[in-house]
Symmetry: D2
Subunit: 236 residues, 4 copies
């Protein structure tokens, strides 16, 4: 594929995120990871695959092309910290990237900034979620590799996230920090949705339920990856 | 060795806990786990070994005799819960036991009870920490496999945890729930300390810094295990 | 009224809890507090009235008979602790009692025990919520004045909390600690419900929505108080 | 005094912050509030005075010139939220301003943004703490009235916060959002320190221990206020 040849920090644009959250673990997670790995190999598109902490090493050892990503981590360094998620342990097990501040696991501002710095120290790609455009701008100030903007600003307003919202989110984040890649993913469930997001200017997109609820999740991943590749070609 | 032949819930008494917290991870953790595994084999004593989530599978695959234990977990079931520690993922990776409510990672009362139940559902041994004798009694009501009582009741009082405190802690917890095993471990750093704890009636003991700061942590683990075996024989 | 003449710790049995949560504040809270105060005076029944922290002093200065209760607090002592709720500040403002560990604001086990002790030090009545009978027993070990058991054990089971559940909750808590008063309040919305709870053996009961959604909340409080008094007489 | 006649959002620059945290409450808090009130009246300088939630109404009723400020709040609206700090209750009691995200009570990014919006809706001045210049910039994106930058970036580096740091913090925050007022207060303990901070360009300054540990806290407040007034005149 032709790429935008952007490589800001640790991450190349565009990319696909496959995020099974805690729906999959162990062998089921590995199985989908292998499908994502094959799709990444065949399309040349970077694919970020999230998994439980306990599955990082197994997935890393059995795949070659995906970016293995954990769902969160804590800002501690080796030492005490019983019960916390040590970044060094994830890195040594094979994690390449980390999600931070997901709405299901929010971080304090200070912990979030500390985690972004810890990821950078360990050469792990940081993908930081934000519930609104304003929060996405705040996140961008802290210089993560990727900001994932979810339009929960719109929750309860009766509006649906539309193209104008997506373009606005991308534009606002880039104004604050042009080096940060921007992902908009809310409501994305089909290859067509992925195509549209990339055409609107997002550096990446992806999903959870859109993939897991597809007739074949493996096929859905491939379709999404191919749609992103097509969207890039259409932009050239 | 002769054992008390107690096997309450998932755990046999007595036992040793080797808890490197976040001081060790990856290959360093595996190395000490193997030493603990050999000590468990040679002495016949059950040894609980804690490790980071990302190391569970590797340690389980490379040891036979230790009880692989994670440092905490969350009460969720498979599904959403991005960024949380799914019990099923730990179990499938090979975790046999879980620490809960350590002072460095405290749980709300409700989450703690939910985690104890989740551990039981998955046939994982639950080891629950308590900062005082009173909290240890409260924990015992929730029927975990093991209560680990740390005498922080005494913090700031100028007193040191002594034999009387240890016996009191054990006695009080057993009154509330005779099926719960009791560990007292604060300040334990030598084989002699372990011997004493078992002689005083504890079902288990162990440590972190006493092992990691020893001239040879592997030797210290073996010495501790042998001391516990001697203490049991002396009681018979 | 005739009372059971029990006065365990700070609280006399039976009693009524009026808990407007964050639905009322300022003048609206004061208005209902005055109605509760009149009902307490006329019936002789102790009535616990909860209010926002900022309203404690105003309500205390304008009532004589109610037990003014805050919705939570933190375990700190005077000093640092910016942004936390200092027990001494509540006591000096006129708070007589404190709710702890409500499902909408859960506490860690350690903080909960520390708060119960802080309340005792300041001669404030501690009312501790528990989501299940098992948690209620754990709470009772920590010797609060009152345990409030909510049958969320039953959530998702398709069952409704019935008389057997209520009696079981009361019985189990009393076995652990006969000095702790027991409240069962879930689903209580009418005077009839209050009458039934006291007849089943609860030391207190009360509600939020059952009072606030009544045609006249003031009248509903009076009806509930009178029903509790009748229940006690019926027991004699 | 001559003022910069800036009135951004709810707050006029410059100003002094008197923050007794949880060291003072009740009558002791009121006594110092009255001293601050007199100093505000005599110097014409806006003085922000923080107090426990339970003291807001009493302090507001007994002072005329200070800006009464709470130490934190929660983002909820009237309704459920048992045990949380309802912004409406603070406003009705007389709070004019709110501290948010203090290092002793950190907020998640989402809660922080929600609290800033809640403060704006209620016409309360929001003063948001940040542990580093980077976090201060992130905070500024969320458009609070005041950002309070504490140089904990420097913690552990062996350096002391100096004039260059202060000017850098002010400059960086203003670049992100010129409408936000900037406070630098770490280590400020004397009138001379206040003078210097304002001369360096801060919109406000203040302290806790520098005031409470002074031979006379009331005199120290007056000296600080006068120093800020002098600094403004020197700048004209």
């Amino acid at each position: 594929m032709e790429s935008k040849e952007e490589n800001m920090g640790n991450m190349q644009s565009p990319f696909l995120i496959v995020n099974p959250k805690s729906y999959l673990y162990g062998n089921e997670s590995l199985k989908l990871a292998k499908a994502a790995d094959q799709a990444a190999k065949d399309t040349g598109l970077p694919i970020i695959f999230t998994c439980p902490y306990a599955d990082v090493r197994m997935i890393r050892e059995n795949t070659e092309n995906i970016i293995v990503c954990v769902q969160s981590m804590d800002p501690l360094t080796p030492g005490r910290g019983m019960g916390h998620v040590l970044p060094e342990s994830l890195k040594e097990a094979g994690a390449d990237a980390v999600f931070l501040n997901h709405a299901e696991n929010p971080k304090t501002l200070s912990d979030l900034y500390a985690c972004i710095r810890r990821a950078a120290e360990l050469d792990m790609t940081s993908i930081v979620c934000a519930d609104s455009i304003t929060e996405a701008k705040a996140v961008a100030c802290m210089n993560p590799d990727v900001v994932l903007a979810e339009p929960t600003d719109l929750i309860g307003t009766g509006q649906v996230a539309d193209d104008a919202y997506t373009m606005e989110a991308i534009d606002q984040v880039r104004k604050v920090n042009p080096d940060v890649l921007v992902v908009v993913a809310s409501g994305v469930s089909t290859a067509e949705d992925c195509y549209n997001m990339i055409r609107l200017g997002a550096d990446g997109t992806g999903g959870t339920s859109g993939i897991l609820n597809a007739p074949s999740p493996a096929v859905r991943i491939r379709e999404m990856a191919e749609a992103i590749v097509r969207a890039v070609k259409a932009s050239d």
